[in-house]
């Protein structure tokens, strides 16, 4: 488990640097960001 974590963590560190260097951003991965106006209290405007 420790060895796997070393590999996994190292991979994440490399991926992070590569992503940052190329402008890859984890932006709203679940698509929950506000797009249409919601109005006060979260009411959706037509």
């Amino acid at each position: 488990m420790v060895r796997s974590y070393i590999i996994y963590g190292t991979f994440l560190c490399i991926l992070f640097c590569y992503a940052e260097a190329n402008g890859w951003k984890v932006v709203d991965p679940f698509g929950v960001g506000v797009s249409r106006p919601t109005g006060p209290g979260g009411h959706y405007h037509k």
Binding site: S4, L12, W24, K25, V34, S35, P37, G39
Partner: protein, 457 residues
């Protein structure tokens, strides 16, 4: 967890080449008739044995007495307990060959919790104990040393809460009075069924320090965990399978999860430090350039379609883009939908943005929500010439005079999105490891009166 009143009288440790295990010795067997039932009783190691149990009536006989005095008569002739390792069987443990010469069952007087103990003998190395507790085995050696340090929490309690020996700190696991419930075989002391002794166990997996004491003496022993497979292999036992839930984890059984956690904690700190430093570096070196600024007019509460924002250049091969929208909203909203288009390749990056801001008062006082500025980040946009096509829409404006909104496009901006996601991802295995470690330790201490995972309240 051993049950004898002192050091074996003889033989004891003898300097023998550890590389050359002694050949199995041929015991000089002596026999006599049991004074209680007349059945023949055999002593396999006369001279070393002080008491022996009659196989027939289970009376314990003092063999140092010429008349073979009976130390205790066992009340039942039926075998209540059957040793997992048959008496007189031989096996190799800790690099040496041992013969099982005695077996006894002991229990805690208060809780009635019982465990099994085997007395092992090797004519060159003396005696050892092998204890069996719910499928967990401990190889026990009597020691003449005492712990280097003891830590007591109360002067009223004779047994300390922690002891230290050889730079290992052992925490108290159990304390009580141990009673001999059942014996068979032969022993180097006068064992008596029903005899009681004060005892305490201290653990630092995979080792255990145990003490048995009375008003006159204290006897320490050192136990080491032995895997059940090793015992089964040594004595040619039929492998036992754990029940549905397994045997659980023994008092000093090494936990792979605990060992993993000890290593993963520092590793996590290392990765955390690296990601933090890397993010500070990339944020500090981000160019954060303004690619274009657009100011447009709109008539509130109307829609405007097909606004084209003049071309602009995004430098650098690949970087993120931050689009900021500002509109003078006050209890109103302004909405933009559009796309950023590469003038050369035609690649399109659609987006939607809303600027809305509301405020007021109610029974709880003043409130507000939303923001006049809305920012949207686009990931990994290639460099080149771009333009924006947008549609706008607004509503709830009370002032319907023409107003102005702005859109700013920035290139290569510092961002913490990735940082928090990667910290989350790199933390998942340690969280799992910690959970499993804690599960093991809670299980380990479940049978202890000094369980640190249970509060006193």
């Amino acid at each position: 967890m051993v049950g004898n009143p002192g050091e074996p009288e003889q033989p004891d440790e003898k300097p023998v080449d550890p590389e050359t295990p002694p050949p199995p010795s041929m015991p000089k067997i002596r026999s006599f008739s049991c004074p209680a039932c007349g059945a023949p009783v055999t002593i396999r190691y006369p001279g070393a044995t002080m008491s022996v149990v009659c196989d027939s009536c289970h009376s314990v006989i003092d063999v140092t007495n010429k008349n073979y005095e009976i130390l205790s008569k066992y009340f039942s002739k039926t075998s209540l307990w059957c040793p997992t390792i048959p008496l007189n069987s031989r096996g190799k443990l800790d690099g040496k060959t041992w013969e099982v010469i005695g077996f006894m069952v002991r229990s805690d007087v208060a809780s009635k919790y019982c465990w099994l103990e085997y007395l092992l003998f090797n004519p060159y190395y003396g005696y050892r104990f092998l204890t069996e507790d719910k499928g967990h085995w401990i190889f026990v050696t009597m020691i003449k040393r005492k712990p280097d340090n003891v830590y007591s929490t109360s002067v009223r309690v004779k047994t300390p809460s922690k002891v230290e020996m050889d730079n290992r700190v052992y925490r108290i696991y159990n304390r009580g009075i141990s009673k001999v419930d059942y014996v068979i075989g032969e022993f180097y002391w006068r064992v008596v069924v029903g005899s009681e002794v004060n005892s305490a166990d201290y653990i630092d997996p995979p080792q255990m320090l145990s003490i048995e004491y009375d008003d006159t003496e204290k006897i320490w022993s050192l136990g080491k965990h032995i895997d059940s497979k090793e015992v089964e292999k040594a004595f040619n036992l039929v492998p036992r399978t754990a029940n549905l839930f397994g045997f659980g984890i023994g008092p000093i059984e090494p936990s792979a999860n605990s060992a993993a956690w000890k290593k993963m904690g520092p590793l996590w700190a290392l990765f955390f430090g690296f990601l933090t430093c890397a993010n500070i570096f990339f944020s500090g070196t981000a160019k954060n350039m303004v690619a274009t600024e657009y100011y447009g007019n709109f008539v509130p509460n109307t829609k405007i379609n097909d606004i084209t924002i003049p071309k602009f250049v995004l430098e650098k091969n690949s970087a993120n883009v931050l689009i900021s929208l500002f509109a003078p909203v006050r209890n109103s909203w302004f909405y933009v939908s559009g796309e950023m288009v590469n003038n050369t390749t035609g690649a399109s990056y659609p987006f939607e943005m809303t600027s809305e801001y509301y405020f007021g008062t109610d029974s709880d006082g003043a409130w507000s929500e939303g923001n006049a500025t809305h920012e949207l980040e686009l990931s990994s946009v290639p460099g080149g010439e771009y333009y924006l096509n947008i549609d706008t829409e607004s509503g709830d404006f009370k002032n319907t005079n023409q107003q102005q909104f702005s859109i700013v496009v920035k290139r290569d901006t510092p961002s913490w999105y990735n940082y928090w996601w990667f910290i989350f991802l790199v933390s998942l295995p340690p969280i799992y490891s910690w959970t499993m470690m804690r599960r093991d330790e809670v299980s380990r201490w479940a049978n202890s009166d000094f369980n640190p995972y249970v509060s006193d309240s």
